[in-house]
Amino acid sequence: MRHVLFAMSLATALSVPAVASAAETVAISCGTVGKEFELCKQGSEAWAKKTGNEVKLVSGPTDASEQLTVFQQQLSAGSSDIDVFRVDIIWPGILGAHFIDLKPYISDDVVQQHFPAIVKNNTVDGKLVAMPWFTDAGVLYYRSDLLQKHGQKAPTTWEELAATAKVVQDAERKAGNDKMVGFVFEAKAAETLTCNALEWVDSFGGGSIVADDGSVNIDNPKAALALKTAASWVGTISPQGVLNYEEEGARGVFQSGNAVFMRNWPYAWALSQAPDSPVKGKVAVVALPKGGADGKSSGTLGGWNLAVSKYSKHQKAAADLVKYLTSSEEQKRRAIQGSFNPTITSLYKDAEVLKANPFFGTLLDTFTNAVARPAKVTGAKYSRVSSDFRNAVHSVLSGTGKPEEKLKDLQKKLTNMSKKGKW
């Protein structure tokens, strides 16, 4: 018996050094459902295999604002449970204080491969707090079959969209489809309305609510005209219900074949082309219309990035995982397999990527010219700014407020909140 015990203790002693040099475990929170989770799992495990480390995938709420709430509570408590965070484009301003600077870990020439607007958005007080992973911007979906049938072409201005939508809507209703509506978008008083409305305002040249220098610039005639134009759609080419639609509500109407136009994020493309989709093969995507002849096409910048917690006990390994997941090879794989829009600009000219996503070519301009929400300049107060803005817009759209009055009130309110632009 003593021999057995001796052998066991010897084996234990010999194995201790190996255990001491065991792999680091990096915990990453990156999406919770479907394709996104699967692709992140594959990518993370590939990195683990390559580096000899381990990864643990942490799931959480599916709703973005719920995720933010959970992250804020964890980070405020200084928790080290999660090393890598998948963060929305508007969160660097809110959460940036909790993340490490990634510049020491990722060289400049790599960073410069990504869209400059996103890198700029993710740089807070000189620190690169998050690496761009995949991007988003509002785009216009339309029924190419219906436009062709009624002799219309894709609109380039909001006025053209309204006119075309009216023509096709009326014709289709006359032909028997009572449910047909011209244009669906997202006007529920949530972050999604901030995105939609910012597109209208910016496309008319009405600014981005708060300028880069911190001054509030929302009260101007072009912004008022933008909101007035959007309000004219509700109840005419758009159903009253858009005032309670989020992305999935609008997509439900469009994908069931009952809408001519839809504003949404690029994710809706892959779903509209699924085998069981009623509109498969009948949809095309273009940039959102301009606000008049002298306006511009503008999609609100969205998308997700990867950040490393400063409370992490494995910062170097976590930064390496972030570098790998945001690399050109990995972004290309995700673009082909899941239609996730790369943040590395050269991939929009890649033949294999374009074969899998024909409309990506037109997205390069969209992402290059996307308008960012004023989340960085307003920092922790962005949620309030966004809420006040979208409530003002919601009032205008529902007819309970006039654009000029609402924007004047909003200007006053935000200016008071801004502490003379210092936020």
Partner: protein, 315 residues
């Protein structure tokens, strides 16, 4: 009142212990000892969070700021008090509470009276009535949200095909219409709760009173208002107070069903927005404390009135 004479003392029963005696004190002490675990649990899961909420209400605590919170006195309460969004949410919550509790009580009474009569299948129907109450509120809200959808909801489909409306209605969009929708869903969900409480009260009413009323030739309406209603007023008031307290805390129906603009928020939705969406723990705690204060005020008012009415009961 010939039957009201106190009964002759039963010589076989032990007399209750005299007040202040050793035995009485031991009984009181034993009662408290048995209650102690419950009180400890209540303090841990309800008392402590409530205390923390009150404490945060006087600070500038924020989810966005890692620094420890600082005491700011009544600043948060002043901010909430001056916010028109808060007062709109108060108005929304009280309107919702008043209308929904009234409808639930009336409908609950009607259904309870029906279930109280003897007929075949009564037991099954009583069980079936509980279904809406058993479904979690967020699930009900989501389900009804789909039914209320203006383009593909079944409610518009039915109303359109029956010719009651000429065009689809966006029920959950207009602040007035969404209030109607929310009240309708809550009435659908919570009427069974009122029904069961009222049914339990009806079950214990003595048959003799109704037989006597029948002999005297009283009609059913008179029987209800003169006999049934007075006798179950106590239990009914308890049910109403429970329901009012719960309705004032309403969150899920407003949060899931409406467009969440500042025009269609309840007090709880407002508090949550301040606390989590705006990361302002202090302000959110102040709103939550005011919400608690309103509920407590209502409770105290009710208890005072209840005590008065009990005291006026004829001896």
């Amino acid at each position: 009142m010939t039957g009201s004479a106190s009964p002759a003392p039963d010589s076989s029963a032990a007399p209750p212990p005299a007040p202040g005696s050793q035995l009485a004190r031991e009984r009181v002490r034993a009662a408290w000892l048995f209650l102690l675990p419950t009180l400890v649990v209540l303090a841990a899961v309800a008392g402590w969070p409530l205390f923390r909420t009150f404490w945060f209400a006087f600070t500038n605590a924020s989810l966005a700021d890692p620094a420890p919170p600082e005491f700011v006195g009544l600043e948060n309460f002043v901010t909430v008090w001056g916010d028109s969004d808060w007062w709109r949410s108060v108005r929304n919550t009280f309107l919702f509470t008043g209308v929904s509790v009234t409808l639930e009580t009336v409908l609950g009474m009607i259904i309870a009276l029906t279930l109280n009569t003897r007929f075949r299948g009564r037991a099954i129907l009583r069980a079936a009535v509980l279904v809406p109450w058993a479904i979690p509120t967020v699930v009900s809200a989501k389900m009804w949200g789909w039914m209320f959808n203006d383009v593909y909801g079944v409610i518009n489909e039915m109303l359109l095909s029956a010719g009651f409306i000429s065009g689809p209605i966006a029920w959950t969009v207009d602040p007035q219409l969404s209030m109607v929708a929310i009240i309708a869903v809550d009435v659908w969900k919570t009427t069974p709760f009122m029904t069961l409480l009222l049914l339990a009260a009806l079950q214990i009413l003595p048959e003799e009173l109704y037989e006597a009323a029948k002999l005297d030739g009283a009609n059913p309406v008179m029987v209800f208002f003169r006999i049934t209603l007075p006798l179950i007023r106590g239990p009914m008031m308890v049910a109403i107070i429970f329901r009012v307290l719960d309705a004032l805390r309403v969150f899920d129906l407003f949060y899931v069903l409406t467009s969440n603009s500042s025009e269609s928020m309840s007090m709880a939705v407002y508090a949550r927005q301040q606390m989590f969406e705006f990361q302002d723990l202090g302000l959110g705690a102040a709103a939550a404390s005011l919400l608690f204060g309103l509920i407590a005020l209502f409770t105290i008012l009710y208890m005072a009135l209840a005590r008065d009415s009990v005291a006026q009961e004829p001896a």
